[in-house]
Amino acid sequence: MPLSFYMSISKTIRQTPILKIIKQEIFYFLSILLAAFIVLEVIWPNIILVYLNLNWLLVLWLISGITLLIKK
């Protein structure tokens, strides 16, 4: 099973620019995560901020977005 999974990934890598897809998907993921956290924070203040400084997530999201743009 791990072998077939590896083969599946290898095949996909050969066919598409996988790194670009991963970067793009991570950017989407971080966008949704940031939006979800902001919505949760608006509904229940401090629910996220006590655990995590959202600025760090915002910086990560910006880096991810800039990387994506530079590659394009």
Binding site: F5, I21, E25, F29, P45, N46, I47, V50, L52
Partner: protein, 505 residues
């Protein structure tokens, strides 16, 4: 089933599915932490904070000038200790505990190192119970007086955390002592003077004061305005009344409701509330209000009156059916009258003023003392017994462990002697009953626990307010004393999600 997923489905789909699951898990995790379904959770704050990026649950240590945490890393010679801890250099220090939901009980565990002198033997922690009057439920953290007497006096274990200390070994069991205490005949104590013979710390006993038969009480009117929340004892026998005139100064934005509770034997027997429509906040235009309570005391005894108001309210007049009336622990006479005389039994008087016009030389127990700085508490010590306080100008907050009144005839203290920082084992107490556990010491750090009932604690915007108090700790005395906090941990317990659901149906 897994094989087709791994081999046939496109990579993009699988990757998105993976990220989707991560997203849901993260959101679910935060919702779980918001709801706390099991009803129990622990929050902590330690110094240094490590890798934590969030603001944490325990924060907002203020006022900043009473802590030395801002000195972090400002030099490379000797401030390493500050970096590793929160230094409390003056008291009290307040902090907030954010909780995502309500809890009923909190156990606070404090790990600290104390660099305190013999003038600051007590450390206490408290939770805010009443926002209007600023009442905190204080619990012991450390009491060096009891720790020292614990080795000098004979100790009897009582239930839970409480114990009895006796100067001479008169009793061999707590049950025997309590039997004599209930009958009012303790060994080595003069008859009728039992409240002066037993000192309490974090322990309460019912008040059983009776006015001596040769004394009677007459009606009393106090026309001296008093600012903010006050509590007083008053002795009633038969029908009674209490009439109050208040003035709302309208100096601050918040509404100023007036609540007066009259209690007997720790049970409220009469209560009145005057809500504030707050039509003219911060206008500075005084607004007069009045309130009256009456009742019939079936048994003669001491009533406790709790006037719960903010500092924006002045009590202009108190009209009482009894002149046995003494203010408890604090009195704040205001409104510019000159040469005021008060009577008190406190031994450690604290005087403070925020008004430059009230700086003066006051007299306490016949000694003249300088009150020469605003916003700074001044402590004055005197011997036991009733003493006079003479003020040249009012608007001074007078506080201490005891009672205050405007005439020596009115002054009476029905309560048991309490252990405070000025307590002396040679002052007459033969027994001590305390609800206290000494801190554990490990590697030079002390650790102790304090338990709080949060069900009636004040909570605003999801935050409880706590304080750490070290009576007598201040920077102006130049002693360099401080309390160094390494960790504060709060174990909270409340209703489980199943109990909450059960309540709905």
């Amino acid at each position: 089933m897994l094989k087709p997923f791994l081999t046939k489905w496109p990579f993009l789909f699988k990757f998105r599915l993976f990220l989707g699951v991560v997203l849901l898990v993260l959101i679910g995790l935060f919702l779980y932490l918001k709801i706390v379904p099991g009803g129990q959770i622990t929050y902590s704050r330690s110094w240094p904070r490590g890798l934590a990026t969030g603001k944490g649950f325990i924060y907002d240590f203020k006022p900043g000038e009473r802590t030395a945490i801002n000195d972090i890393g400002d030099s490379d010679s000797g401030t390493k200790a500050n970096r590793d801890s929160l230094r409390i250099i003056a008291e009290p220090v307040y902090f907030s505990l954010f909780t995502p939901r309500q809890f009923n009980r909190a156990i606070m565990t404090i790990t600290y190192r104390d660099n305190l002198s013999s003038t600051t033997p007590i450390i206490e922690a408290g939770v805010l119970k009443d926002k209007i009057s600023g009442f905190y439920d204080l619990q012991p953290v450390q009491n060096n007086i009891l720790d020292k007497l614990g080795s000098d006096w004979s100790r009897l274990e009582d239930s839970g955390r409480s114990f009895i200390l006796q100067a001479a070994k008169n009793y061999s069991s707590a049950a025997e002592f309590k039997r004599d205490l209930a009958s009012g005949n303790l060994k080595d104590c003069p008859a009728g003077k039992i409240t002066a013979c037993v000192a309490l710390y974090n322990y309460s006993l019912p008040i059983s004061y009776r006015l001596p038969e040769n004394q009677t009480s007459a009606p009393l009117v106090i026309n001296q305005p008093l600012r903010g929340a006050h509590q007083f004892y008053v002795y009633f026998n038969g029908p009674w009344h209490l009439d109050f005139d208040f003035t709302d100064l309208n100096l601050d934005q918040a509404a100023d409701p007036i609540i007066v509770d009259v209690s007997f034997d720790d049970k409220i027997v009469a209560s009145q509330t005057l809500p504030d429509e707050n039509k003219a906040p911060i206008s500075g235009e005084p607004e007069n209000r009045s309130l009256a309570l009456k009742g019939n005391s079936l048994a003669a005894g001491v009533y406790k009156v709790d006037i719960r108001v903010s500092d924006d309210i002045v009590i202009n007049k108190i009209d009482s059916s009894s002149d046995k009336l003494s203010f408890i622990n604090k009195i704040w006479p205001v409104s510019g009258s000159k040469n005021l005389t008060l009577f008190t039994d406190v031994t450690d008087l604290q005087a403070q003023t925020s008004s430059p016009a009230s700086l003066q030389s006051l007299s306490f127990g016949g000694r003249r003392l300088a009150l020469d700085k605003t916003y700074e508490p001044f402590n004055f010590l005197a011997g036991a017994g009733v003493k006079e306080i003479k003020l040249e100008k009012d608007d001074v907050v007078l506080a201490g462990n005891g009672v205050f009144s405007f005439s020596s005839h009115s002054l009476f203290n029905p309560n048991w002697q309490k252990i405070d920082r000025s307590f002396s084992s040679t002052a007459g107490a033969k027994y001590i009953i305390a609800g206290y556990q000494a801190p554990r010491v490990k590697n030079g750090l002390k650790t102790t626990q304090a338990e709080f009932n949060l069900s009636d604690a004040y909570r605003e915007n999801g935050k409880y307010t706590f304080l750490i108090s070290v009576p007598g700790l201040k920077t102006s005395d130049g002693t360099g004393d401080y309390l160094e906090i390494k960790e504060i941990k709060l174990e909270l317990a409340g209703k489980t999600i199943f109990q909450k659901i059960k309540e709905l149906f």
